[in-house]
């Protein structure tokens, strides 16, 4: 496949090639026709001469009138005839034309006689045999040898004429192709040249074109170029403007980022606080619950003391009565002291829980769980919830104990709330720990019916709660997830099991101490 560099070359070569090919085909066809025609003419002349001779000398042949035969064939004056031989019925040469060879018998007579058309035709010879007959009885023969040279000369002449014509036409067509190519390509070249020389900021104006197509093309290119130029100017201005804006923004970006981080931290702290407040409410409830029994006992002891005094159980007038009263009072006060100590312990436990860890503890996970359960156990017992504990983990790992306790308490409290809401009988919460390769796993599962599958993926989202507004903030599990993932470098997820839900907490034992970011 040829690739032309310019339209001009393409047009010239295409037109000229088409012409040469067409001319060649036409010439070949013409020459073939001419050849056939020339040969037909040549054949026709020979046939005519044959016919005339056959008509006019048949009697001379019958009568063997050699003189008249000779005279007749010598009168034939055609450029197409080379020689004529007259043969008798026995194929003996009885007469011949002047330029014929001196033969007694024509050597190719038998070959001619056997041929259907009685003719031998080749590149170099054309020989015809004519039979003179009377009532189909042969009385003699005539052999005419045609002069092919004249036919060849004629062909040669025609060929040369054609060649000259072809060359002349080729030159004319080449010139015409050049003129046509110029006329077609000149406007395009003008447009291309203009475009090549045009700068992006130039207003493009083309010379007026003669043809409508080029007028349309140049007008469109000009319009597009000028539109692009305007767009470029606008774009440059816009880019400049935006660059300035970006520079300004860049200057204030650091401040904005710092503000955003501070805001995010603030929000996180707020969430934590909210969560803590919610838990605090729950804790207060738990404290109240835990205090109820010792306070009741203190109240009972105090009431007992009051009753004893009012009923004058002891005779204070006697030494013995005073001693007994004192002993009893000391006993009751000791009980009260014991109950007050219990209240203090409870307070200490809660206070420790709310004291943020400054550093991680390197301890077994079971300690944190037991501490958590110590806070909530009384409440669970009061609600008749069985607590099954199975601590198989022995690995020590870096944890923020109080944070992890918060997680345990969240999950256990949620289970307790669920049991209370549904009024479950035979409720149980099972907590177990175990070690798997490089991690320690805590599983907290209940038999509270589980979490619907359509929401199980959302339970760790902030503000997502299935409890009523009074009891749920939707922050417990969100904070638990945050604590496990960020503070204890672990993973937490929930899955439904046979009768309830199982929360799995995985903590990595080989992790380094984490920096507490709170």
């Amino acid at each position: 496949m040829f690739i032309f560099k310019t339209i001009r070359t393409k047009i010239i070569v295409t037109i000229f090639t088409v012409f040469i090919v067409s001319m060649s085909i036409h010439s070949a066809y013409q020459f073939h026709n001419m050849k056939v025609q020339a040969f037909d003419t040549f054949k026709s002349v020979n046939t005519t001469i044959n016919t005339i001779l056959a008509e006019f000398i048949s009697a001379y042949i019958y009568t063997k009138d050699i003189k008249n035969i000779k005279s007749s064939i010598d009168n034939i004056n055609s450029i197409y005839i080379k020689s004529i031989y007259i043969l008798d019925e026995n194929s003996k040469v009885i007469s011949k034309s002047e330029n014929a060879s001196d033969l007694k018998e024509y050597p190719r007579f038998q070959e001619l006689l056997e041929r259907e058309d009685k003719t031998i035709v080749s590149q170099d010879e054309y020989i015809m045999l004519n039979t003179f007959d009377i009532l189909d009885i042969p009385i003699g023969y005539m052999v005419v040898e045609a002069d092919l040279q004249s036919y060849k000369d004629q062909l040669e002449k025609e060929r040369n004429t054609h060649l000259v014509e072809t060359v002349m036409f080729s030159v004319v067509f080449l010139l015409a192709a050049i003129v046509l190519a110029n006329s077609v390509s000149a406007p395009i070249e003008h447009i291309v040249k203009k475009l090549q020389n045009a700068e992006a900021d130039d207003i493009l104006v083309f010379d007026k074109q003669s043809q409508e197509e080029f007028q349309y093309l140049s007008a469109n290119i000009s319009r597009s170029h000028n539109k692009l130029r305007l767009s470029k100017i606008n774009l440059e201005s816009l880019v400049q403007e935006k660059t300035q804006e970006l520079q300004d923004l860049n200057a204030t970006l650091e401040i904005k980022v710092q503000e955003s981080i501070a805001e995010a931290q603030h929000k996180s702290e707020m969430l934590q606080k909210q969560s803590r407040m919610a838990q605090m409410g729950e804790m207060i409830s738990m404290i109240a619950h835990q205090w109820r029994q010792p306070l009741g006992a203190i109240s009972a002891v105090v009431g007992n003391i009051i009753v004893q005094i009012e009923l004058e159980k002891f005779d204070l007038t006697s030494e013995e009565g005073r001693t007994e009263h004192k002993k009893d009072l000391m006993k009751n006060l000791s009980s009260i002291s014991s109950f007050v100590q219990s209240l203090t312990t409870t307070i200490d436990d809660f206070r420790n829980f709310y004291k943020p860890n400054k550093q991680q503890d390197f301890a077994p996970i079971n300690d944190a769980i037991e501490k958590s359960l110590k806070i909530i156990k009384t409440s669970l017992v009061a609600d008749d919830i069985d607590l099954i504990e199975d601590y198989a983990s022995t690995q020590e790992l870096y944890i923020y104990t109080n944070e992890l306790m918060q997680v345990i308490l969240n999950i256990v409290k949620n289970a307790e709330d669920n049991f209370n809401e549904k009024g479950y009988k035979g409720a149980s919460i099972s907590i177990k720990t175990y070690d798997v390769l490089d991690k320690t796993v805590i599983e907290i599962q209940d038999n509270g019916g589980g979490i619907p599958e359509d929401i199980i993926d959302n339970i760790f989202d902030p503000y997502f709660s299935t409890k009523d507004d009074k009891n749920g903030t939707g922050l417990g599990l969100y904070m638990s997830k945050t604590i496990v993932e960020e503070h204890n470098n672990g993973k937490i997820f929930a899955k439904n099991i046979n009768e309830g839900v199982c929360f799995v907490i995985e903590l990595y034992t080989n992790s380094c101490p984490l920096k507490f970011t709170k």
Binding site: E55, Y62, E89, I134, L135, P138
Partner: protein
């Protein structure tokens, strides 16, 4: 001188090929008469040879027994043979004698075979289709 002239004439007459002539006359006469061997009478010595050499022609010594009488000139017409069937090798004979139904002759270089339609009808002769191109209505 007279002897030389006759000799030259006879040489001229004998110039045509006898074998071809026998075949030609055999073909013409068998077109006219539907017989295997046709009896031909002629007083012309040259044509006697021709008839003798013809395969299916037989030379009759008596014109009355002959199927056909071949003449080359008017004087060769035997007396009392008016009812006979004549064929000639001379145009003048054809032209002059109404009993002659056809002729085979040459005029300059041209060979001619001619039959006259009326005379053929009169003699109740019908020629094959291949001869129809030789039949003329009149001279």
């Amino acid at each position: 001188m007279k002897i030389l002239f006759v000799l030259l004439l006879s040489i001229n007459i004998f110039a045509f090929d006898g074998a071809s002539a026998s075949k030609i006359f055999d073909k013409i006469f068998h077109a006219m008469i539907d017989k295997e061997v046709i009896l031909v009478y002629t007083s012309n010595e040259v044509y006697k040879e021709v008839i003798i050499n013809a395969e299916n022609l037989s030379l009759s010594k008596v014109f009355k027994e002959a199927d056909i009488i071949l003449v080359d000139s008017l004087k060769e017409i035997p007396k009392g043979s008016e009812d006979g069937l004549f064929f000639t090798t001379s145009y003048p004979v054809l032209r002059e004698n109404d009993n002659v139904v056809g002729a085979f002759y040459w005029d300059k270089g041209h060979i001619k075979i001619e039959f006259l339609e009326k005379r053929l009808l009169k003699k109740e002769i019908s020629l094959p289709d291949s001869f129809s191109k030789y039949i003329k209505e009149s001279l």
